[in-house]
Amino acid sequence: MELKKPAVRQVAEAVHRGEVTARQLIEEALERCNTLNSSLNTFVVIAGNEALKQADAVDAKVKNGQKLPLAGVSVAVKDDFCYSVLPTGFGSHAFKSFYSPYSAAAVEGLIAAGAVVVGKTNLDDLSLGSAAASSPAGPAVNPWAEDRVSGSAGAAAVAAGQCLLALESDSGGSLRQGASHCGVFGLRPTTGRISRHGLNTFASSFAQVGFTALHAEDLMEAFTAIAGFDARDASTAVCKEVPVDQKKEMEPTDVIIGCPAAIYNHLAPGYRAVVDRAREEYAAVGFKIIDLELDLFPEALLAYYIIASAEASSNHARFDGIRFGTAGDAANLEEFYCKSRSMALGREARRRSIFGTFLLSKGNYELYYRQALQVWSLVRQEFKEALAKCHLLLLPAVKSMPDPIAETVDFIRSYEEDFFCAPVSLTGLPSLCLPAGLVDGLPVGLQLVGRSFGDEMLTRMAGRLAQEIKLPPSGVL
């Protein structure tokens, strides 16, 4: 098989036709993972024999006539998903040699579909961040510019050709911002469509399982393989019938894209031009473009940070050294807790836990937290009304260039980088980041937001755009 950037389906079909074995594909992927990891730091663990054994199992199943939609597809798994075969570190010093007794539902699902896990990808301190820069293992480097952050190590690994697919989590936008910064596609599905069983989340209301990949259709292959109700995750949706307009094969001329142009003014110079050009190109393909307003973006970001901090302070309470991680010797129980928790929580996790505890305290709960829950309601209503007028919303994914790795970024400024993604997380709607242009030689992606349970239509339309418009190259190969 001589394809430079093969789609997931092409790989699986080649394995089924006997043109290549899963073992050959995975050996090649592992070699690339190992060769590039010293410069990119995308992986915290790279699989060896474990991956080859999985690949052999795939080959055996295919030989026995089993159809596997992801046969031989190399997948990188973010290190906040439990995976019993490799260590799971959650981006914390306290879990250096932790092996989960079980694997996350999403990991199990991908493996059952024939994918092979090539390693666990780097992540921010307990998943808190959208830069993959605050990891105890050091930052994951952007393959487009070695002095810049990647946003997501999984997206960076896909862009660098270390794997075909990355299993990601996304709360405030790490998956989508990573896809934008690394020039690949990224899907955050509708809340509840993929099980989060086995995913370590800091913000239970917003964390969602998704993917990054080189092609839009790869996202759908992975999504189809693992989406659905899971009794182990009570927040998964018993999938109702997908709305008719989301199901039928729509042509671009049937689709209305809403553009909230006023919020584009928050973009850095150069980035605005990318959105304006995309708008023109989408119209040229036949999409109907309409203007609309989404006024609550600035406040939605603030609401997100209040709720997410409150939930982080609650979720991180379990890192007490007894159930997870340990600090070793202590004179008494109080000291044991303090030592264990101080080891488990890095700088950003400590900050968020303190902010969250403060915001949930008497008086502040009513002033901040309850107000944030009410603003959340207004934001959802605003998006609902907007999506009654159009099928998709066109939004930026990032405000500006990925930050230099060497630079210490003020924490408020790093929160503001989530300006275009965190508000969408509040809605639970599906969103997809697709490559849209280059600014100063670095990729920039845009975000399409679809209607609830419209993941398939959203991905199909992104695929059409990739076919009909000359999008910038996906990945750096």
Binding site: T236, E299, Q371
Partner: protein, 94 residues
């Protein structure tokens, strides 16, 4: 100690972290910056607005409270120390 310092001290105590004086001062500055940053949110008119409680419209689906065949075997396999239906864990405190 002003009210912000007091609130911070209470939060640190509640979440059980070892924090030295230098970090405490830094956190106090960061908390004040954060609260200042949040101020525009307080200006939004939310009278009569019901708060959101869950981020999806799905009805909670509970599992049947019934043991599944093979569950105990799976639990046994997940640990090296499983006796009389209980996990045995190392002593952490004398």
């Amino acid at each position: 100690m002003d009210s912000a310092e007091l609130a911070l001290a209470r939060a640190i105590k509640a979440i059980k972290l070892e924090i030295d004086e230098q970090e405490r001062e830094q956190l106090l500055g960061e908390l004040n910056s954060f609260l200042h940053w949040l101020e525009p949110l307080l200006m939004v008119d939310t009278a009569e607005v019901k708060p959101v409680l869950v981020n999806h419209g799905a009805v909670n689906v509970m599992r049947d409270d019934r043991a599944q065949p093979g569950e105990l075997t799976a639990l046994r396999k997940a640990t090296t120390n499983f006796d009389e239906g209980f996990y045995q864990v190392p002593t952490i405190l004398e």
